[in-house]
């Protein structure tokens, strides 16, 4: 299994997101006052300053906004992966998250901007929290 760095706690902003990941749910926040989408998780609405945020579940489908295939990373958790695609994914609900595009034969050729992708939760040797990564659909 992969051995990616785990989220670290206590960290109350992101803990619900990661508890969601354990259940196979990709969570984001939405403001009850202005309906603005908030991501990364935090305490207040970045659109209006309201503290009234609700957790929502994403369908986990989106597009690759941009990416880079990393050829060199000194961190052993990643240097063992070979070349891998780091990406920003624009989820259909309107939030942008950092992740990886996986499951392609050659990330230098098989990943592209605008590509449709879907989340999956990758189990880890490094700990209990599975990591949300994206696979082309």
């Amino acid at each position: 299994m992969p051995n990616r760095p785990q989220p670290r706690f206590p960290e109350p902003n992101s803990q619900p997101f990661w508890e969601g990941a354990k259940r196979g749910e990709l969570l984001y926040q939405q403001c009850n006052s202005c309906n603005g989408v908030v991501f990364y998780p935090r305490m207040l609405c970045t659109h209006c300053g309201s503290l009234d945020l609700a957790w929502k579940q994403s369908k986990g489908e989106g597009t690759v906004y941009t990416y880079s295939v990393v050829r060199q990373n000194r961190n052993p958790a990643f240097s063992d992966l070979g070349a891998y695609a780091l990406a920003y994914i624009d989820l259909d609900e309107g939030f942008r998250m950092m992740s990886n595009v996986i499951g392609v034969a050659d990330p230098t050729k098989d990943v592209s901007i605008g590509q449709r992708v879907k989340v999956e939760f990758e189990k880890q040797d490094s700990g209990d929290y599975p990591i949300p990564v994206f696979r082309p659909v």
């Binding site: 990616r4 998780p41 961190n75 920003y88 950092m98």
Partner: protein
Amino acid sequence: MANQARDAAIVGIHEYPLRVAPGRSAMQIKAESISKALEDSGLKYSDVDAIYDTNEGEGGGGLGMSHYLGLKPTVIDTTAVGGSSYEFQTAHALRDIRAGKANVAILSYGSVAASNRTPIGTGGGTGAGAPNWQGNMEDSFGQTLIANYAMVAHRHMHQYGTTSADLAEISVSTRLHATRNPDAVRAMQDLQFMGTGEISVQDVLDSRVIADPLHLLECCMVSDGGGALVIASAAAARGAKKKPVWILGTGEATKYRENGGDITVSAGAQSAPIAFGEAGVKPEELDLAMIYDSFTITVATILEDLGFCKKGEYKDFAKGNRFRFDSALKPALNTDGGGLSSNHPGMRGLFLLLESVRQLRGESSSQIANAQLAIAHGNGGFLGGNHTGGSVILARD
């Protein structure tokens, strides 16, 4: 027509000449640079009443520097916003001098990143350290600093048709300037560059890819180094040895990953208009652009954001070796050799100011004929994530 306000000026500079300085600490590099910058200015040690410090290395910030130097300044500023900290601090020094709170200010930088083998570009995503809200959303994905900038490059290519060959123009001109700067040549030798001579666009494209689409020769070096500068009020500047270089305008801004945001636009798009407006200067009037060249894409993006060309038009703007110091087209770019080929110990912002001053004094190793106006624009942090933009417009006396 540039504004006529002449409230504060850079009157003393020093760039630490070595890029590999084993046995030195960051504090020693800072202190030596401060002493020599004050010597360059002709002002006295005891004249210093303001310290600006980024708290890098073992620095200790405004408090630690005061202690180390044995000074008791009455303006203490520990603005630390990454590589653009020095542009921010210059902005604050201008503000503080205008307010009558400071008379003679010092900024300094020291780093032994090369001797410590700090993996600035290829570390990243360690998953170590104290838990924090952003790290928990990023550290699992193996983002290196280079890969973050590379994501900007990919998106820029996608939106505007920019190519790696277009970006390579920056590496080529910068290297030409480095070959004319003895300290840069020594830096490349000491850091064991494969070659220290001029390079071509094809050389850049043939160098290995570190993080698609960025090649090795599009990435800055990791060096030791540092420097210092002295900023004085108009009254104090009259006592300086050399002609003052006036600070005409400054701008500060932040940017970060945003839902639906445009990653090809940097914080410079917000900071630069503020600086140009205050200075009463237009981009096309500038003789020199000192832009933080952590990577080629940083410069391409920022040239657009500063208004030298429209967003997305870098690829046409860059043609014809226009960035050389002896080009008929303004502005010349990074005439000291840049972070790509002269000096990058982690936070390059100070060197942007130092070379601007050298040009406006007529002291550069790649001197622009009759240089009158320059911009130093620092970018701190991750261009495709959290970052700062600091713009400083400078004028010859």
